[in-house]
Symmetry: D2
Subunit: 243 residues, 4 copies
């Protein structure tokens, strides 16, 4: 891509607005602000943000048309995301090839579940335990610049059985202190688009401030950027060869 | 599986009931009757049928609870399949591991699209042209007993780009006289369940009377039969190790 | 398969013959004897054993022709396995579809490395630590009858990056007390054959006496049994259509 | 990658040197010259060539250390490629992540067979028939800039069953006039490296002069370029956690 990759960082942005919620201390401007700032330091990414409570959740047709990769964080208000906006995002991924980077509790968002076709449910535990992420496909673009493993000192456990389709490429695997494993870095092709699911990111730990976590999201945005491939050809066709 | 595999052969059964439609001549008792008869000749399959116009489309909770593998043919009336029944089938596949064998124009059924997460759209042509199916994964259970390729003398063309997720295993690839290729035998794991998509089967050609086509469907039913695995464990978990 | 699946349990059988090695206490008759006995209790498996120090390592052309699935345990003497025998096993897998179940340190055997095409190297630690195996593809035949996870009280750690091709299906993931994860249950199609790699099995812990471990090996033998598909067609071909 | 991607275009270069062989007319300077010229027109690729009859086949340790992606065309003289050079290329792919783009009859090269672990054999026919390549994964980097399909007017048929492991991503599928299909654009991760197999390219047809064919090779070089990931960590490890 010769021009900058246009990334829209989407956030539910509710926990951080609730002064009684610890997230408001860890991310006073919202997780999206920290993520967007990290992405914006990269010269090839043009970044803006959108949140649930903006009109049309900040995801108007124009905004999406102007987005190459959308990152998604949601948790408590998945149900408030309007179905028509979910359909709009879905179409933009499948038909136009917009990339989607789904973060942490975004596993249970309407858009991720619609794209995966499964429940996307999982076992979890909120105990501030250590998570260690291992690179299992080191040659993949999402692994660029990563060490063989990195640690998150305090994380929410997400474990298996994670009810997703087997990813097209499994890049990261997590170990949790409490005894679980998790497929925490998963690549999917869907339609013309590419989707990356990334496990870390609980709202009360400063995970998005961590360099390796930012590195994965940056890599994922580059990997998920659209290919510029034409829309697919469907419907009734004439024969290319004489019948 | 020590007992018989219980297969329910589902059919929209509209074309065949329309005396003016050619399907009524090729399949006077409905495609489901021909498919069910072929399956019933196998000693390890217990077969029954269900159709759209039965109450609850013949897919009551009891009927599904009594089904290990469901085969699905639909075409003109996808929209008439009730969403609650689609959700019931979806749950039964994902959580209980019921197998699903999707036939031909079933690619556009609500249940297949819901499970795949993509449009499942494709280019097509109805010209009665030759289709030749090549086995590309000969060691897979669905390929058991198949020659290196087999032909369907007159088929509807279904081509690429077929908008599905890359299958977990690609077993069959089709060549069409008119110039196209098609991923016509595709295996998917979704939740606890297994799904097989099989391309051949237009309603006005006697395709389900053909031995190789029946062989593939029989193999697919055996492959897709549930594993007896327990329902997945989701939700809040205690630590297995001391934290 | 209507007849019994003929399984040959192959073992290097050196550690157990060395009275000073702890393996001689844990497996006085050899690991192969314990594995073979577990398999033989299943009514559909016909089991025999073969070991390195037999003529042709017990893997004569006749013995292989009479084998549907070969299980492989080796460790200290990989280099003593003759290349011609390796080639014979390779041909039997690729062309005839014999199944291969590679156990633990068999990851570094000549035959597994030849089939994978990579180094098959990995990080490891021998500290008798706890391993917990999680089922990540519960609908797969290899997972039949398994609980969501099971534990091995004392195991050798095998970790990532495990230098193998991404498996066609990943069934089991291991957690280790010391901080690592491992893709410990991996399915591969290669040629007409199917290969399963299974991580557990160090020679000084009684791992092959454990019921869940035996269950996985039994399941793997059934899954890996050949399909009866004809040998592939290679070489110069006439056109099927008029050119 | 901030610097140019260093591509070495390797060619057996025997047919073209034989004045009686038609290849000497189609590619008087060798196929590598045409491929290299096409790559060199891209601003981000630094290209050189190497051929079989150079010392060490032009693939000295220094030359490989200076190569990010190696393209490989061989046919009649696979057996003359020295095993030590094959091992050197293999190590460079697996451990250092050098990309490898294998062209046409390179399917039967020692290096491709070693990396795949299978026979890599296939059915073929030399009849100058039409090949049509369909894009089946339009979002993949190798498909960038391609139309939904493109044609090669006169090609050698390569068909299924192509004895390779299922590719990690299948990007292109070929249709042949004579009745066959072929997985003609296949991506593989192996070790730290990435491998692309591309079907077109018989030496007596001007296939490497064709723009779409050049586009695929250019895309493949970019996709296969190494990630800069550190060499994997193998061998005995201390525990990261207290045991």
């Amino acid at each position: 891509m010769d021009r900058k990759i246009r990334v829209t960082v989407w956030n539910e942005f509710r926990h951080e607005c609730d002064g009684k919620h610890k997230a408001s201390q860890v991310y006073p401007q919202g997780m999206h602000s920290v993520i967007a700032a990290a992405l914006a330091r990269e010269g090839d990414l043009a970044v803006r943000t959108a949140t649930l409570d903006e009109p049309e959740h900040g995801l108007t047709a124009d905004a999406l048309a102007d987005t190459d990769v959308l990152t998604w964080w949601g948790h408590a208000a998945h149900g408030e995301v309007k179905d028509e906006i979910v359909d709009r995002v879905h179409q933009r991924v499948i038909l136009d090839g917009m990339g989607l980077v789904v973060l942490h509790s975004g596993h249970f968002s309407k858009i991720f579940r619609k794209l995966m076709g499964t429940t996307c449910n999982l076992p979890w535990r909120e105990a501030g335990e250590k998570e260690r992420l291992w690179v299992v496909e080191p040659g993949h673009p999402v692994a660029r610049g990563l060490p063989p493993y990195f640690e998150i000192p305090r994380a929410e456990m997400y474990g298996e059985r994670f009810d997703i389709p087997a990813p097209d490429t499994l890049v990261l695997l997590s170990w949790f202190k409490g005894g679980e494993v998790f497929r925490s870095g998963c690549c999917f092709h869907r339609g013309n688009g590419k989707i990356f699911y990334f496990g870390p990111g609980h709202e009360t730990y400063p995970i998005y401030h961590q360099a390796e976590v930012q590195r994965v999201i940056i890599n994922a945005c580059r990997w998920a950027a659209p290919n510029g491939c034409p829309p697919p050809v469907f419907g009734n066709q004439k024969a290319l060869e004489l019948l």
